[in-house]
């Protein structure tokens, strides 16, 4: 890579990449020290989107905080909602109904698809492939229609509740989702024909931003970035939660840990997610969605508006000091979000608000490892590597 570059001048240039740059997808900043076109040093700066989510967690009650989790990884809010309530439920020691677990898997996998699709579109757009962007956004739009019909919102979904979900799937949801997963592999094939053997795409991503498996573990990389290095680790398999042990799927791995492998891993993960979604729809259990424990679950709206018991339960849940109160203790719960390990570490003092909430975001670790992947490469690779990591500023800075 350095062969053709004569470092004749020895003059160094400092280039500030971001905070506003079309390829950062959020407010990130990388300070690059360049010699000609090669990157000598890269220093990532975080914190531009720091919002104090962890501090907020100490002041909002357990159900209120779900709204905050939407804003972490804003490309897959449903996965954040899911990971958070799972941590609270495990701390409470309750398990939601089978149907609810399946609905949550369904939504988590659809949001994985949406996340990977947005990643695919923007990563390709950064490297000049505009058609891919249009193709993937066309598919993503179908998913967002499903999200909108299910949760009432496209981005700020806030779908889960402690002990359940906001509401059951809408009538016709199954048909919509089935139609999507039937057509989607064909649509993804179009992207494969555009990129996978594309000479430009391969030149820009193969061998670029490579990281070894040992370094990836040392830096704490997770998710597709870890699996691209050849480690078949997926929390859904290693520590199954919410009935993930009942669905079968493969964990795709790469070999070189470069941007191209991360691309291939994500592409295959989308196909696997479609498989999971189909299995979930085939085996969707009947029965109640929410736990019928009025100390844990919000009553449904018709009850809250139409019956005195429902109204009382509603007030009991939302009133300070009467609602969801996990016993004193602490718990760390990890879920496999589209970007990797999303962990919530909750310390409870027995009251209605958490004593401490710590979010372990995957992007924080990926962004930290960026210099390791950039240094020694070319300045134009910066965009390719940053794109391949899918660093989301919302969860990076929290």
């Amino acid at each position: 890579m350095q062969g053709g570059l004569e470092r004749a001048t020895g003059e160094k240039m400092i280039l500030s990449f971001g905070p506003q740059h079309p390829a950062t997808h959020g407010t990130l900043r990388i300070v690059l020290e360049l010699d000609g076109e090669s990157v000598l040093k890269a220093i990532p700066h975080a914190g531009y989107l720091h919002t104090g989510f962890e501090k907020l967690g100490e002041h909002l009650d357990y159900n209120q905080y779900i709204v905050v989790t939407d804003r972490m990884n804003y490309l897959s809010p449903l996965s954040n909602n899911f990971g958070y309530v799972l941590a609270v439920e495990q701390l409470l020691g309750v398990e939601v109904t089978k149907r609810c677990q399946y609905i949550r898997i369904l939504m988590a996998e659809l949001s994985r698809l949406a996340d990977h699709l947005l990643w695919l579109g923007t990563a390709a757009l950064d490297l000049g492939a505009f058609s891919v962007f249009l193709y993937s956004f066309r598919e993503r739009e179908k998913l967002y229609s499903i999200f909108e019909k299910t949760t009432g919102a496209r981005l700020t979904t806030s779908y889960t509740r402690v002990g359940g979900v906001l509401r059951d799937l809408y009538d016709g949801c199954e048909e919509d989702v089935r139609q999507f997963v039937t057509n989607f592999p064909k649509a993804l094939k179009e992207t494969h024909t555009l990129l996978t053997k594309n000479r430009i795409w391969m030149d820009r991503t193969k061998g670029v931003g490579a990281i070894s498996a040992d370094d990836a573990i040392g830096y704490g990389l997770t998710g597709p970035c870890l699996r691209a290095t050849g480690i078949a680790h997926d929390i859904r398999k290693a520590e199954p939660y919410s009935s993930y042990e009942e669905v079968t799927f493969d964990v795709p791995v790469g070999t070189n840990g470069d941007a191209y492998d991360r691309y291939l891993v994500r592409m295959e993960e989308m196909i696997q997610s479609c498989g999971i979604v189909t299995q979930v729809l085939d085996n969707m259990p009947d029965g109640p969605v929410n736990l019928e424990d009025n100390k844990v679950t919000m009553p449904n709206k018709p009850d809250a508006y139409g019956h005195i018991e429902g109204l009382i339960h509603h007030f009991k849940i939302v009133m300070d000091g009467h609602g969801v109160q996990p016993p004193m203790g602490e718990h760390y719960c990890a879920t496999e979000s589209p970007n990797g390990e999303l962990g919530f570490y909750i310390v409870s003092d027995g009251s209605g608000t958490a004593y401490r909430i710590r979010i372990r975001p995957p992007s924080f670790f990926h962004f930290q490892a960026l210099p390791h992947m950039l240094e020694g490469g070319m300045v134009s690779d910066t965009v390719a590597v940053l794109g391949s990591l899918n660093v989301i500023a919302g969860e990076l800075d929290r």
Partner: protein, 182 residues
């Protein structure tokens, strides 16, 4: 009766067995809660324990999941239990060799916020320790670059401490931008 009880009892996790054999004097408390082993370790031996957990070939906790801290100043029970140490630095580790998760907690007193950095063991600890320093003021000794990471460099105070109010200490009002509008 006794036999039945023995069958029901889970076998002791390997990590606890090995630590009791090698670092028993470092352990202040141990617990097993919700699928994770919890260890409370004396500060002066925390580095040795973490190094042991990482390098022991059977345990191989090679993946540092998280480093954070908890300000226990309003948590009376924790304060009582650990000699009124205000902060608890919390390490989460994971073993890819099937040993599962372990949480190592280290009590840190307010009058001596220093603790040995683990950046030499895991590269990924760098930013995690910076964030813990930024939010709690824990001083990681031996850290190559202990600066603030999320808050601005000239920020004063440590926002996740319990005595730091939710709405800040007037930082926003002191912006020139706001003064012009008054």
């Amino acid at each position: 009766m006794n036999e039945e009880k023995d069958v029901e009892e889970q076998p002791k996790p390997l990590v606890l067995e090995k630590l009791e054999a090698h670092h028993s004097d470092a352990l202040l408390a141990q617990d097993e809660a919700r699928g994770s082993v919890v260890l409370v370790v004396r500060k002066d031996q925390a580095y040795a324990v973490l190094e042991y957990l990482k390098t022991d070939p059977e345990l191989a906790y090679t993946y540092l999941v998280d480093v954070t801290a908890v300000d226990n100043s309003q948590m009376e029970s924790e304060l009582m239990q650990f000699d009124y140490a205000r902060f608890m630095v919390v390490y989460h580790l994971y073993s890819y060799q099937g040993q599962g998760r372990v949480r190592v907690k280290v009590p840190v007193h307010e009058n001596d916020l220093r603790i040995t950095s683990v950046t030499g063991l895991w590269q990924g600890a760098n930013w995690l320790e910076r964030e813990t320093y930024d939010m709690f003021g824990i001083d990681f000794e031996g850290h190559p670059d202990l600066r603030r990471i999320l808050m601005p460099d000239d920020f004063e105070g440590h926002p996740l401490r319990k005595d730091y109010p939710l709405r800040g200490r007037g930082e926003r009002e002191s912006f020139n931008f706001d003064k012009q509008n008054v």
